[in-house]
């Protein structure tokens, strides 16, 4: 359980995190989404006390992170930035962290096996590939058998097998009743694992919703129908929870609240000829882009060469 209240982080003039209010609940995977520079990593750093909030507060399982007797048992964290000394072996890295909490050697071996690092555990972490480094970070996150697992961009640098491993791991952890909080800038990846979504842009909360709701709100169940007699079709389809829109003089109607199948059957029943009937599914990616389009920090541009030539 993570509880953020009016969480704010300012760096001079720039506000990286701006009054975030959210709760991450146990038993589900909660995705933390936002474009690059939205404040996801800063928020996660504040949750584990690496950065102090400028305003507001955040607690984990009811207390500030630093107030816990065994922090690693409360929250296991994988941060995006490297957090390992390259000169130390994977085993010694985990062992040093375990020693601070009195976590037994046996548990160190367990997480090494769990993360698939057994064959390289004695090698220097500096020689690890990006994917191996991520696995070591995840092993460290699981070391204290924590109630809450918080991972910043965990699939970065992992091969397809590793990505699949992470997905299953996150689901297993959530099924065990743990709080799982995972950040990503890729909606497609989140859609596969997360039930709940917290979406941020420019440090502000844009949405705190479920995957299903997000699709619905973005008009995901709209059906486009073109018919010979749109006015009569509109009357036929009208009912509670059904919304029909269309321009006057156009054959096309946009219907929400009914499936394409239901519309087709009703039209046939009343003898209205249909020319086109298609369900327009909005992908999560579109819904996400739509939500964050005003909040993207760094826009790509295709007119870079022209701008260069222009006097400032």
């Amino acid at each position: 359980m993570i509880d953020a209240r009016k969480l704010t982080k300012r760096y001079g003039e720039k506000t990286a995190v701006d009054g975030l209010d959210f709760v991450v609940r146990p038993g589900t995977v909660t995705g933390f989404l936002g474009p690059n520079g939205a404040g996801k990593s800063t928020t996660m750093r504040m949750i584990v006390g690496l950065d102090a909030p400028s305003d507001g507060s955040v607690t984990v399982n009811g207390h500030h992170y630093a107030r816990h007797q065994a922090p690693l048992q409360e929250v296991g964290t994988l941060l995006e930035a490297k957090s390992v000394h390259p000169g130390r072996s994977a085993y010694n890295h985990l062992r040093a962290l375990a020693l601070t909490h009195g976590i037994p050697r046996r548990r160190v071996d367990e997480v090494i096996d769990l993360a698939g690092l057994a064959s390289v555990a004695k090698q220097r972490a500096g020689a690890f590939s990006l994917g191996m480094g991520q696995r070591l970070g995840i092993a460290a996150a699981l070391l204290g058998d924590p109630q809450t697992v918080m991972l910043d961009e965990p699939v970065n640098g992992l091969d397809p097998e590793g990505v699949l491993w992470i997905r299953n791991l996150l689901k297993t952890l959530a099924d065990e009743g743990r709080t799982v909080f995972v950040s990503s800038h890729l909606m497609s990846e989140m859609a596969l694992v997360a039930d709940h979504l917290i979406i941020v842009g420019r440090g502000r909360l844009l949405a705190d919703t479920t995957v299903a709701d997000l699709i619905r709100e973005a008009g995901g169940d709209m059906v486009k129908v073109a018919s010979q007699d749109p006015a009569r079709l509109r009357d036929v389809l009208a009912g509670p929870g059904v919304d029909v829109t269309g321009r006057i003089g156009s054959e096309e109607l946009q219907v929400t609240g009914l499936t394409a199948r239901e519309i087709g059957l009703k039209a046939a029943e009343h003898g209205i000829a249909l020319f086109e009937l298609s369900a327009r599914t909005v992908s999560l990616e579109e819904a996400f882009m739509d939500l964050t389009k005003d909040a993207v920090e760094y826009h790509g541009t295709t007119s870079g060469i022209e701008t260069l030539g222009r006097p400032a």
């Binding site: 816990h68 490297k82 390992v84 962290l97 909490h101």
Partner: protein, 279 residues
């Protein structure tokens, strides 16, 4: 351990979670394990010990050959077995101080500090543990090195005016003082690394404090020098292990106090920055 068995015997529906807990002693043992699991520790400590012993022996040999040939440098004329044997302290302090900087600043440059502080979010125990663990290791290396250098160095200069044994008044105090000085230099290195969070910055300040500032002070008017110079970290430290003290130098006890003061100042600054600023 009785509490552990008590909880295990309680009937529970869910498996009992192990009772982990961060304690000062555990943070110490973690820092101990961290120190020895890096190759750079072994190399740098080895170099420190080598500098201390080798330069002491070289100085003793030069003195002896100077006596034999009758061509003695003026710097060497007033030497004792102690001052010759401890000639390497200047070089050993660099190795041990630099390793101290690496112990703390190295965590910032590699990112390890994020793992460390996530495990010990109260932060200050990490600094105290690092300083204690490395300070004691540097003290041990410095003391062993000083005694080894003296035992062999005094053997080389036996039968010359500089000859001296361990039983000679003040010798053991000087050698222990040298070990203590090197241990505290290690602590100051740790503190500077944590204060500046940069390996290059920490080493630069360390070298400036221990080696450059004494030289710069000599540019001041001599009436000022006498008042400032004895209290500089390097000179106060030297008073701790020098066998003889001229009129301006501090006594060994006063030197120790002043040097402890400098160490506390550096540690205090490091603690303030660690507790107050984002990692």
């Amino acid at each position: 351990m009785s509490t552990l068995t008590a909880t295990a015997e309680e009937p529970r529906t869910t498996p009992a979670r192990p009772a982990y807990r961060v304690t000062g002693r555990r943070v110490l043992s973690s820092e101990w394990a961290k120190l020895w699991s890096l190759r750079s520790t072994w190399i740098t400590l080895g170099l420190g010990l080598l500098f201390l012993v080798a330069f002491g022996l070289i100085a003793a040999s030069r003195y002896k050959s100077g006596i034999h040939t009758g061509r003695m440098d003026r710097d060497f004329a007033a030497s004792t077995a102690v001052s010759l044997s401890l000639f390497g302290t200047n070089f050993a302090q660099l190795a041990l101080g630099v390793l101290g900087v690496l112990v703390t600043a190295g965590e910032y440059s590699t990112g390890m500090i994020r793992s460390t502080l996530a495990a010990v979010p109260r932060r200050l125990p990490v600094l105290w543990s690092k300083a204690a663990v490395f300070g004691l290791v540097a003290l041990a290396v410095g003391t062993v090195g000083a005694f080894v250098a003296f035992v062999f160095g005094s053997g080389i200069v036996s039968g010359t005016p500089a000859a001296m044994g361990l039983s000679h008044a003040g010798v053991v105090r000087s050698l222990l003082g040298a070990g203590l000085y090197l241990g505290l230099v290690g602590v100051i290195g740790c503190a500077l690394g944590a204060l500046l969070r940069s390996v290059a910055g920490g080493i630069s300040v360390l070298v400036a404090v221990l080696m450059l500032i004494p030289g710069l002070i000599s540019l001041l008017p001599s009436s000022w020098q006498d008042h400032i110079s004895p209290y500089l970290p390097s000179n106060a430290g030297e008073s701790m292990f020098a066998l003889t003290h001229d009129a301006t130098a501090l006594s060994p006890g006063a030197g120790l106090l002043v040097f402890l003061g400098w160490t506390a100042l550096a540690l205090g600054g490091a603690a303030y920055r660690l507790a107050r600023t984002d990692a």
